[in-house]
């Protein structure tokens, strides 16, 4: 029977959950934090930062080409790329927020949610895997108190994830802590590494 009244509503809409699959170990976990921050958003691209972006724009014939650099500037300033920041970058570069989001979600290094103060990324691809990278991961998980991959430790200090090949295979196992690149990490020297990140 057809109806002439209002169309039926959408059933079963919900919040996107973490999709499963091989990427579950890579990149920051994409579960949304509960609720948004109640503080008003402070723009990133003001003053010196804006000047820095303007200087970069000269290098490219299009504004869009400055998108990845602009997103890096956001992450350097705020530690992650929030939806508000995506909207700001979109506005500054003449793009849509949806477009910026599509780019942000493509690249694993942009955090879409806040992470621990020290974001620990351990390479576990085959060249490091055969050199015991999994044991390095275990050591980090244990010694940071995180316990699980992708979960920030209770004190907010650490998040540990596995990443794909960091391009330092001869210096197994390479580890990045935020943007610090540390080579030749073994289970034995994990504690030394962590000493620098308190």
């Amino acid at each position: 029977m057809t109806d002439e009244g209002t169309g039926r509503g959408v059933r079963g809409t919900g919040v996107r959950s973490v999709s499963h699959g091989p990427s579950a170990t890579g990149g920051a976990i994409s579960t949304a934090p509960n609720g948004h921050s109640s503080e008003p958003y402070v723009p990133v691209f003001t003053g010196e930062t804006k000047a820095k972006l303007d200087a970069l724009l000269v290098r490219y014939p299009t504004k869009m080409a400055a998108l990845l650099p602009a997103l890096w500037m956001v992450q350097e300033a705020r530690g992650w790329v929030s939806p508000e920041a995506m909207a700001e970058v979109a506005q500054v570069l003449g793009l849509t927020a949806a477009y910026v989001k599509g780019v942000v979600t493509f690249y694993t290094m942009y955090h879409q949610h806040p992470v621990g103060k020290h974001f620990i990324q351990v390479c576990t691809t085959t060249p490091c895997h055969v050199c015991g990278a999994e044991d390095v991961v275990k050591a980090f998980l244990q010694q940071t108190g995180c316990g699980e991959l992708g979960v920030t430790s209770a004190d907010g200090k650490y998040t540990v994830i596995e990443v794909e090949c960091l391009g330092a295979c001869g210096f197994a196992t390479p580890v990045m802590v935020n943007s610090d690149f540390i080579e030749s990490v073994t289970p034995a020297n994990v504690s030394d590494v962590l000493k620098k990140y308190v």
Binding site: P69, G102, F106, Y107, T126, G170
Partner: protein, 438 residues
């Protein structure tokens, strides 16, 4: 050099002789080491003449494809009135490969010089060095070196006083292996998702921002200054007498279960057996070599027997059923489980798939799931056929070769180490209805 070890006498350290020398990073230090003579020479040459020298040298792309560099440069139509671009592919993400990072962090000016020469040879005024976001130190070193070179007038509006403009900019990636594919790199540079493009059109016709573009690997570009200074003939001589198609030196990134992992620079045609046991020190104590992936994870796995019979150049690797690729040499000893590593490689490709092509997007993930299930002890005999069938579906049917690269270790692993896979199967083919996981 077998950096971080001392150079082995059988190496020829054309590109790597200054690895480890902090001074080589500075402009003055580089000049003292003979740097920028090649650029000065090149800026006074006709672009076609530069192309001729590089063609004669037989230099081939060192990023993995091995395409003749001089020929690639010749595809750029000089004087067409369009802005030309040079992209340096410093996205080094092929598992097993870690040579470009060394070139950049120890001899940044070698790369800048190579970029500037290449730019001039293809009629480009702008060169972008696309460096993967994880390469913190190379990024910092390259930025500093570019700034230094700009301040000194080596690059910029009036490169070395030649009246020609050569701008070299560093561009930071953000975590995507696929951006090492030349067309994906261009899309990423343009501020898009790193999706490879359909070819044709080829970059030399329509590339970065739709303009004629050449993309070259770091190692390729770093080889250009010595070729220009020493001549194409010099480079050509470094080859097997019976194989003139592979010339010069290659940085081999050796990693995995080997006594002395590191970057070794040897001439084309070096015997692989000597290389593995002599230069690299052989397997770890108490272990034996089992398998080698010589060219980065995208090339077929070979057994140690096959490796010991191989010669280290493009054709030599093809002759033993694999490829030279990026020369990211992953060595596995007898303590490793081939199925586990093949599964881990499949997981890598599944993580990195850009999601455009159906076979890659779904096939890499499906392959990974089957392999991980097998490694976990839950495999069936039917999985062998499925894996081979998927590998066939994933080969030769997509925009780029990421899915082919996922298929390579699966096919070669199953072909050469079938026994290890079969040992994982404890039950016959059982058809169960899978759960839906929310």
């Amino acid at each position: 050099m077998g950096f971080p070890f001392k150079p082995h006498p059988r190496e020829n350290t054309v590109l790597s002789k200054h690895f480890g020398q902090a001074e080589a990073r500075t402009l003055d230090g580089w000049k003292a080491r003979g740097g920028y003579r090649a650029l000065e020479q090149a800026l006074g040459m006709d672009p076609l003449a530069i192309q001729g020298v590089v063609k004669e040298s037989g230099l081939r792309g060192r990023g993995g494809a091995g395409f003749p560099t001089g020929l690639k440069w010749s595809f750029m139509k000089l004087g067409d009135g369009k802005p030309h671009y040079l992209c340096c592919n410093a996205d080094e993400s092929e598992p097993g490969t870690f040579k470009d990072r060394e070139i950049m962090r120890w001899t940044p000016h070698a790369l800048i010089e190579g970029c500037a020469i290449a730019a001039h040879a293809i009629g480009a005024e702008t060169a972008y060095i696309y460096i993967r976001g994880e390469f913190t130190e190379p990024l910092a070193v390259m930025e500093q070196a570019c700034a230094e070179a700009l301040r000194a007038g080596i690059i910029g509006k009036n490169a070395m006083g030649s009246g020609k403009r050569v701008d070299v900019w560093v561009h930071k990636g953000a975590g995507a292996y696929i951006c090492g594919e030349e067309t994906a790199l261009m899309n990423s540079l343009e501020g898009k998702r790193g999706n490879p493009r359909i070819k044709p059109p080829f970059p030399a016709a329509a590339g970065l921002f739709g303009m004629p573009t050449t993309i070259n690997n770091v190692e390729t570009l770093a080889a250009v200054p010595p070729i220009l200074v020493n001549g194409g003939e010099w480079y050509k001589k470094m080859s097997r007498p019976d194989n003139p198609k592979s010339t010069g030196t290659k940085l081999w990134s050796v990693c995995g279960n080997v006594a002395r992992p590191g970057n070794y620079e040897v001439e084309m045609g070096f015997p692989f057996k000597d290389f593995l046991y002599d230069l690299c020190g052989g397997p770890p104590p108490g272990r034996k070599f089992k398998a080698v992936i010589p060219g980065g994870s995208s090339v077929p796995i070979i057994t140690i027997e096959e490796a010991e019979a191989a010669l280290m150049d493009y054709e030599g690797m093809v002759a033993v059923g694999t490829m030279l690729g990026s020369a990211g040499c992953i060595v596995m000893d007898d303590a490793q489980s081939i199925p586990r590593q093949v599964a881990r490689l499949a997981r890598f490709y599944a993580h990195e798939s850009c999601a455009q092509c159906t076979q890659c997007r779904e096939g890499t993930a499906w392959t990974t799931k089957i392999l991980e299930r097998m490694v976990a002890g839950d495999g069936t005999t039917e999985d062998f056929d499925t894996l081979m069938s998927l590998a066939d579906d994933m080969t030769g049917k997509t925009i780029c070769v990421l899915s082919d690269s996922c298929a390579a270790p699966v096919v070669s692993g199953l072909q050469k180490f079938r026994g290890e896979f079969e040992a994982l199967i404890t039950k016959k083919s059982v058809h169960t209805v899978p759960a839906i996981v929310a």
